[in-house]
């Protein structure tokens, strides 16, 4: 059998190879240079010689294959070096203060890495075959293992203590040797089993550090919370969090970042959250009251780090806005208590609510990043405020009148974009209203007035408002309003056609008609006043023309709504009197100096007291007394007599004589009736679909289906009882809590 080829042709014996070659040339030299602090360098020639010796000793045929021994001795070498040289050196430094120990440890760890590297290089051949073949730790792993067992385990507690002290010093503002700490941290990182695990770092350094961090910030918290205002405290929190984050980046393992952050957040934020929010003189409410947006923003960002950190803050915001809203209501109440007359118009109040809403919309957008919890808070608070009892006139009415001001000519003086903005904002306020159906009813009445009296400032603005309401509430809500506008548009289109027809007749009157579709418009009184012949003729012409166009429609004349211009001559001066149709009919009666008493007028005109009294009042007791009343006082009595005022005179040529409206502003009863009907319709709809349902579920379903008002449960029950009475539903015989639908 051939011997393995060798430089000197001989078999290397174990002790010989070990002592004379490996130990002398490699290990001793290595140890020496490490101890002396010189740069360790093996020249290529030296290195190759050592490597080759190793190689040979590991490839010699059995029984001269020294792989096992070499592997063992590699380990022993390292172990002994650590045990005899390194550990004592460290123990020596241990009582001398943290930095000194750490520096020594750093030095020794660096050395060990060098030693490990070279030994690995020398014994590489073991790694390739022996280690793999026997599933042993690699040389590098073994080396680390020894460092861990001999050095690290004995020193780690002190090292950790030293590091924590340094960190706390840095927290207190001292400057520390960051690179030193970083190096030691790397040591910990490398001490994990298998090299890739952070177990040692986590258990031996990170956990104690977290405990120490907790203790540190607990102390700080107690200190700060006693002395600082909330804004000042929060600034400190912000600073501390930033510092801790930077610290991790600079010399700790990234895995620690979230853990340290949570500990700090817990200690200095979570544990004093309510304390900070409610601190007297500087808590959340005070900040809101003083518009401290920067402080609030900081508070928002900090609390959003906590689990459910924002809800308490949002609750305070909600309660604050509600109290601000209530203050507006109280202000209005104070005005009324102070003797101001209660009207359905209070633009100051409505505007104050709009401004409040706008303000906090902005605050939520900018200070609270539009966060949904705060949006909900604003919504909740306005739903309370906007539905408060504000006196004789409901919020719905005050809002509708506000719209009226914006939309009527001679109301608010606004340009187009201001109009749009106003309407936008009032619709936002409207969205919080519970009694939306009441608003709709009043709005329609006011819309009708504007349209019929040509008081609407802009047709586009009217359409715009209706469109906005439609977006909020759906088509059904605005269909009547749209119908009203449509009637007017159709009327306009057909005007010229009818005008042409009028010209064919010679009535000496200029006459136009507005056709209203019943159901879209409010219901009006239709007094069947006796018209003069020339007016009657006009009506006939129109009726003929209209009926030819629309056979299926029936017209009824609403004389209480019409307007007229009456050319009148008093003495030598002539005037144009702008009056209602009814007033015009009355004036016509007094031509040629006739005199009538009240009862005669009733007969001639075919009007009742309720209509005739305000009519006569407007002509004889108002600013422009075109009719003389005898006796001359301010009240119309059935014994009064009237005649044209021959002595009437005025500087103006065109005079408008106003008259009180004969129709109420809206019918509260009708809204109530509509509600009863809507509730019943909802109940029937639901029960028809579900066939059988528990009481509470039925109530809940009904409430969810009614979007324009919110009935009390008792009212819903009353409707249920009414439907039971009419055999739409029955109570279940088995369960008194359930209802069955009766088909």
């Amino acid at each position: 059998i051939e011997m393995a080829d060798r430089a000197n042709g001989n078999i290397i014996q174990l002790e010989d190879g070990w002592n004379n070659e490996i130990k002398k040339r490699a290990i001793d030299k290595l140890e020496q240079t490490l101890d002396n602090g010189f740069d360790t360098a093996f020249e290529p020639k030296e290195y190759i010689r050592i490597y080759t010796t190793c190689y040979d000793m590991c490839t010699q045929r059995s029984p001269y294959n020294w792989s096992r021994d070499l592997y063992q001795r590699h380990g022993e070498t390292i172990e002994q070096y650590l045990q005899n040289t390194v550990l004592p050196a460290l123990n020596d430094k241990s009582g001398q203060g943290g930095t000194i120990l750490l520096n020594e440890l750093k030095h020794r760890w660096t050395n060990h890495q060098i030693m490990n590297k070279w030994l690995k290089k020398f014994f590489t051949y073991l790694d390739r075959y022996y280690v793999k073949h026997h599933s042993l730790p690699t040389l590098e792993q073994a080396g680390l293992r020894h460092f861990k067992d001999v050095v690290y385990e004995n020193v780690k507690e002190q090292a950790t203590g030293a590091i924590i002290s340094l960190i706390n010093e840095e927290r207190d503002g001292e400057i520390i040797e960051k690179s030193l700490v970083k190096s030691i941290v790397e040591l910990y990182e490398n001490m994990g089993l298998g090299g890739a695990s952070l177990e040692s770092y986590t258990n031996d350094l990170e956990q104690p550090l977290l405990d120490a961090t907790r203790a540190y910030y607990a102390r700080k918290r107690e200190d700060w919370i006693a002395k600082d205002s909330t804004p000042d405290y929060l600034i400190k929190v912000e600073k501390a969090l930033a510092e801790e984050k930077a610290r991790v980046t600079e010399y700790l393992n990234p895995a620690s970042e979230p853990k340290i952050r949570r500990v700090v957040e817990d200690e200095i934020l979570q544990k004093v959250q309510m304390n900070l929010l409610e601190k007297e003189g500087s808590g959340c409410r005070v900040l809101l009251a003083n518009d401290k947006s920067e402080d609030l923003q900081r508070m928002f960002h900090l609390f959003s780090r906590l689990d459910n950190g924002l809800q308490p803050m949002a609750s305070i915001v909600e309660s604050f806005i509600t109290s601000m809203g209530n203050a507006c209501v109280e202000k209005r109440q104070a005005k009324l208590d102070g003797g101001e007359k209660e009207k359905n118009d209070d633009p100051e109040f409505v505007k104050s609510l709009i401004d409040l809403h706008e303000k906090y919309l902005g605050v939520i957008r900018e200070t609270f990043s539009g966060h949904h919890l705060f949006q909900k808070a604003l919504k909740n608070s306005f739903e309370v405020v906007v539905n408060q009892d504000v006196g004789q006139y409901s919020n719905a009415e005050l809002m509708s009148t506000f719209c009226d001001r914006v939309l009527k000519s001679g109301g608010e003086k606004l340009n187009d974009s201001e109009v749009e903005e106003s309407l936008d904002r009032i619709v936002q306020l409207f969205s919080f209203l519970t009694d939306k159906d009441l608003f709709a009813d009043i709005y329609r009445n006011q819309l009708a007035k504007r349209l019929l009296n040509q008081r609407s400032s802009s047709d586009d603005a009217e359409k715009l408002m209706i469109a906005k309401l439609k977006v909020q509430c759906g088509t059904q809500f605005t269909s009547k309003m749209e119908g009203m506008l449509n009637d007017l548009a159709v009327g306009n289109d057909q005007k010229s056609e009818f005008d042409a027809r009028m010209e064919q007749h010679d009535t000496k009157l200029s006459f136009s008609v507005q056709v209203l579709t019943t159901g879209f418009w409010p219901t009006y009184k239709t007094p069947e006043v006796s018209l003069p012949a020339n007016m009657t003729k006009c009506l006939e012409i129109f009726t003929e023309w209209h009926d030819a166009k629309h056979q299926k429609r029936k017209l009824s004349w609403v004389h209480s709504l019409g307007n007229a211009t009456v050319k009148s001559i008093f003495g030598k001066k002539s005037y144009d009197l702008q009056v209602t149709t009814l007033q015009a009919v009355v004036l016509n009666t007094f031509n040629d100096g006739k005199t009538f008493d009240f009862n005669e007028l009733k007969k001639i005109l075919n009007l009742n007291d309720i209509t005739l009294k305000p009519l006569m009042h407007s002509l004889s007791c108002g600013k422009y007394k075109v009719i003389t009343k005898t006796p001359a006082n301010n009240k119309i009595n059935s014994t009064d007599s009237f005649t044209a005022n021959a002595k009437f005179s005025s500087n103006m040529r065109k005079i408008r004589i106003p008259m009180a409206s004969l129709d109420p502003s809206h019918n509260k009863n009708r809204v109530e009736e509509d509600r009863s009907w809507a509730i019943e319709a909802a109940i029937v709809r639901i029960m028809k679909a579900r066939k059988t349902l528990k009481h509470q579920e039925l109530i809940a379903e009904v409430l969810s289906q009614l979007s324009f008002f919110r009935p009390q449960p008792r009212d819903i029950k009353k409707r249920i009882e009414a439907l039971i009475d009419r055999d739409y539903l029955e109570r279940s015989a088995e369960n008194s809590d359930m209802y069955n639908y009766l088909a």
Binding site: H695, Q696, P713, K717, E721, I724, D725, R731, S736, Y739
Partner: protein
């Protein structure tokens, strides 16, 4: 057993309405009561009898057909047999379901013509009569009648069948008013207001 049809018929003819021989109204029923020796206004057994005979088609009357059917069901064809029946007309013999049906009949039978409701005053008089004998705790009955008497709510001037029936069910199901929860209750609003009335009474009592 076959009854004497002619005899039963004759009994009916004695009480039938002069204008309509197919119907016996309250006048005729009163006559019958006299013959039986019971008070038509105070004795609940009248109603029980009419109920058992099935006089349910129209209020305040019994038709000839109903009479004949009823006589057959009850096996009576003479005044004596009717008298013998009287003890069995005690409502105490009725179980819960039967009593509910009888109780409903009391309401239906006492209506006026085509009206669907009963006047409150009639209800206040009728309830104690129908519910005597411990069906309903007497204090409950009393306080409820007191409530009806004192309430100023116009809508309760007439009582509906639903309200009438619910009162009995309410007495069965809700023994302790303290457990009453309006927010989840399906009982008619009348009952809610009754409980409210009782709560106010209790508070005043404490003062």
């Amino acid at each position: 057993m076959q009854i004497d049809v002619a005899a039963a018929q004759k009994l009916f003819e004695d009480i039938a309405d002069q204008e309509d021989p197919n119907v016996a109204n309250m006048e005729g029923i009163s006559t019958l009561c006299e013959r039986l020796g019971i008070d038509p206004l105070e004795d609940i057994r009248v109603l029980v009898l009419l109920w058992k005979m099935g006089a349910s088609k129209k209020p305040a009357e019994i038709s000839k057909d109903e009479w004949m059917q009823g006589c057959n069901n009850l096996q009576v064809d003479s005044i004596d047999k009717f008298k013998a029946l009287l003890p069995s007309l005690d409502t105490g013999f009725l179980d819960r379901e039967e009593f509910k049906d009888f109780y409903k009949f009391c309401f239906q039978f006492n209506r006026q013509g085509t009206h669907k409701t009963l006047e409150k005053d009639l209800v206040i008089a009728l309830l104690p009569m129908c519910l005597s004998g411990g069906r309903v705790p007497s204090d409950r009955l009393q306080s409820f009648c007191e409530f009806l008497e004192t309430t100023k709510d116009e809508s309760y001037s007439k009582i509906t069948l639903d309200q009438w029936r619910s009162f009995l069910d309410f007495c069965y199901e809700v023994e302790d008013l303290a457990t009453y929860d309006e927010s989840s209750s399906a009982w008619p609003v009348l009952i809610d207001e009754y409980v409210e009335f009782m709560e106010k009474k209790a508070k005043c009592g404490k003062k």
